[in-house]
């Protein structure tokens, strides 16, 4: 379980902090890579820009993707993830505060694996993260690496 990487794409530092704390509190000790915006996320996944030279065969086990991001937004990132040969089968969990039905639809249409709304209540948020981690890191079978 330890070598499973979580890519957290989140522009809000508070939310990022809280998510990390939640993961820790729930004993999810995997490495978390934090991308502050869409460009960073793409760079990481495809080994470009700031992450040029990274071994792109090493992919995260799950991507926690916020929708509202500066530069390229979450849905655009998702599109590119699904378009990339190596990244096509990545487990992407949209983690967003938007309750808009249209975002939900678009997300699934573009191929998100899951859509979770960030609750305001922190306890609920913690619970959500715990369940997330449990499911996507432990239970769910992703496409094996290197394919």
């Amino acid at each position: 379980m330890d070598n499973k990487v979580i890519l957290l794409v989140e522009d809000n530092p508070d939310d990022a902090e809280l998510t990390l704390r939640a993961l820790k509190k729930n004993n999810i000790l995997n490495q978390v890579v934090l991308a502050h915006d869409g460009v960073e996320a793409i760079d990481y996944l495809f080994g470009t820009g700031t992450y040029a030279g990274r071994d792109t065969s090493a992919l995260p086990s799950v991507v926690l993707l916020d929708l509202k991001l500066p530069k390229i937004d979450g849905l655009e990132v998702l599109k590119q993830i699904r378009a990339g040969e190596l990244t096509r089968y990545l487990s992407v969990v949209i983690l967003t505060s938007s309750k808009e039905e249209q975002d939900l639809i678009n997300g699934y249409q573009l191929g998100a694996n899951s859509y979770i709304r960030k609750p305001v209540d922190f306890n609920q948020f913690m619970e959500a993260v715990r369940q997330l981690g449990l499911y996507w890191l432990v239970l769910n079978e992703s496409v094996p690496q290197g394919r």
Binding site: D15, E17, T96, K118, F125
Partner: protein, 601 residues
């Protein structure tokens, strides 16, 4: 019945009576013509009789002249016979003229036969000698001669009145009548002379056949003898032909028994009159025909054609062709006026149509503009809502999250009060989060398009209660829902409404030991109404009007959680369905919330 039929029927009746009157007149005229013809017949007979009489008188004159003739005052038979022969030559209307001695012996004879003849017993002889009569007139049919003659005798007298001799002239009746009859005879007319015994003396035509025969005893004879009360008699068959007869005796010499008979076949007599009648009737018929044809044509031209024009124009106009007009020419009179008025009306309506059209176009344009504005406003609202749902929540999450983090990670550094403050901070943020959520819901309710469908409210209510039970297992209210309650409405919106109502019922009856929630249907003002009832905290009816206001609450926050938006949302949803929502309640005894939905159609 069409106008044409009506008018023609009217015409028929209008002309029928005059036609009948005219017809009767024609018949009357025929009858009078017939009567006139008969009178004419009688007059003819009388004329002939008069003519004969005049001839007798003329003969008497001759006799008077001859009585003075010296040539006759002689005993020389031969001489006076010669003389008489000369006279006879000049008077061919007589068959003979002779003198008779007072003893009755024939003396002078125009025929110069020299015969001896005793004529003393002759009636005319005796009449001539009669001082009172002085003229003897007697019709005689000579069997030997086969002719009828009228003997006219006159006694020549001396000055002392002593008869010298009797002059006798025998008027050739045949000749006499022949002359006159010839001009009168037409068609089947018959003229005859009969004597007192009924012997036919002359007869035209067919003279030789009839002359000498007797009509005595026949109806004709009967008629001939009657004393001229009837000028004519009809249909007396004689000789196989129906004739109308007129008879006339000699004026002055009626006692001779000589009568003139004039007969015309009934057919002939009537012929002219009938022909006139037929002509008149034919003319009447033609006139009627012309009148009717004229009327027909008139109706056709004036009424039907014009009516047709009007009808065509009206139909075209109603069909949508507003430029239609009846158009010139307008016939004179009321129809023309009507047409003119109608064209004006068409013109007005056309103009109105155009105005309406213009207004419509204008209206549509304005509506389109408004719609565009509304759409723009909606879009803005949507963007706003999206923004709210995202941007406002994030900070809240931070506040709550880090407050919690503080509570957890720095618990040992905080005293009770510090912890309490943080707890309040958290509570406040959550409350704010709920508020945002409710406001978003409310705005979504207003924005969303309603899609009508048949909704099973019973099933929906059950599902909502089940969910509430699942998320709040600590409460166990009894739930009663009538089965099979369906309604027409937007499924999504109605779910939100029921969630609010049932959620309220759940919340406000939560403190009850035996909490009971009911969902059912009833009737209000003849329409179906739905209700959610609980036996919870209830409310004071005095404040019922505040129930549905936004952020209005009738309870303390410490008592019952809530943002005060729920009922406002319910009301907006129900109003969008065209229904009404109201509540009844009693403090500590529960509340019932009713709502109706608009009836389709």
């Amino acid at each position: 019945m069409s106008i044409r039929a009506r008018l023609l029927t009217l015409m028929l009746f209008a002309t029928l009576i005059p036609a009948m009157v005219a017809g009767l007149q024609f018949f009357e005229r025929r009858n009078s013509e017939i009567a006139a013809a008969r009178r004419e017949l009688a007059a003819t007979a009388q004329g002939l009789a008069q003519g004969l009489h005049d001839t007798v008188r003329a003969t008497a004159q001759l006799h008077y002249g001859l009585s003075r003739a010296r040539d006759l005052q002689t005993e020389d038979k031969a001489a006076c016979s010669n003389f008489l022969a000369e006279v006879l030559k000049r008077h061919p209307q007589y068959t003979g003229i002779l003198t008779i001695k007072p003893d009755g012996q024939l003396f002078c004879d125009s025929l110069r036969t020299g015969r001896k003849l005793d004529l003393a017993d002759r009636r005319y002889f005796q009449d001539a000698l009669d001082a009172e009569k002085s003229l003897g007139v007697e019709p005689v049919f000579g069997r030997l001669t086969g002719r009828g003659v009228l003997q006219v005798a006159y006694a020549a007298r001396r000055d002392n009145g002593e008869p010298l001799f009797v002059l006798l002239a025998s008027l050739d009746l045949q000749k006499h009548m022949q002359l006159r009859a010839h001009s009168l005879l037409r068609g089947s007319a018959v003229i005859g002379l009969v004597d007192g015994k009924g012997t036919i003396l002359t007869w035209y035509p067919d003279g030789p056949k009839r002359v000498g025969t007797s009509v005595a005893g026949s109806p004709l004879d009967h008629f001939a003898r009657q004393s001229q009360v009837e000028p004519t008699v009809e249909d007396v068959e004689f000789g196989g032909v129906s004739r109308i007869w007129a008879v006339s005796a000699l004026p002055e010499f009626a006692e001779t028994g000589l009568r003139v008979l004039v007969g015309v076949s009934k057919a002939d007599l009537l012929a002219a009159a009938n022909r006139n009648l037929h002509q008149a009737l034919a003319t009447l018929a033609i006139v009627l025909l012309l009148v009717f044809t004229g009327a027909w044509v008139l109706v056709e031209l004036v009424l039907r054609r014009q009516a047709g024009r009007i009808i065509t124009a009206v139909e075209r106009f109603s069909g949508g062709n507003f430029a239609t007009r009846i158009g010139e020419p307008y016939p004179r009179g009321e129809i023309g006026h009507l047409m003119g008025a109608m064209d004006q009306a068409f013109g007005v309506m056309h103009a109105q149509q155009d105005t309406i059209h213009g207004l419509n176009t204008n209206l549509e344009r304005r509506v389109a503009e408004r719609t565009a504005q509304l759409e723009a406003a909606n879009k803005e609202l949507e963007a706003f809502s999206y923004s709210v749902s995202h941007d406002l929540r994030a900070p809240l999450r931070s506040i709550d999250g880090f407050s919690q983090a503080l509570l957890e990670d720095y618990a040992d550094k905080l005293d009770g009060e510090g912890k309490d403050y943080l707890k309040r901070v958290r509570a406040a943020t959550q409350r704010m989060g709920k508020l945002i959520e409710d406001i978003l819901n409310l705005s979504r309710v207003t924005r969303t398009e309603i899609h009508l469908e048949t909704v099973d409210l019973s099933a929906m209510a059950q599902a909502i209660i089940a969910e509430l039970q699942r998320s709040q297992p600590e409460s166990h209210p009894e739930f009663v829902a009538a089965e099979g309650i369906v309604a027409e409405g937007d499924g999504g919106l109605l779910k939100v409404a029921l969630e609010n109502l049932l959620g309220n019922a759940w919340k406000f009856s939560g403190k009850r030991a035996q909490a009971k929630i009911e969902f059912g249907t009833t009737r209000h003002d003849g329409n179906p109404a739905y209700f959610v009832r609980d036996n919870g905290a209830g409310f004071d009816m005095t404040y019922a009007s505040k129930l549905f206001g936004v952020f209005q609450r009738l309870h303390d926050m410490t008592e019952f959680k809530g943002t005060g938006i729920g009922l406002a949302t319910v009301q907006r949803i129900i109003h969008r369905h065209g229904g009404r929502v109201w509540a009844e309640g009693k403090v500590e005894e529960g509340a019932t919330f009713y709502f109706t939905l608009s009836q389709p159609g």
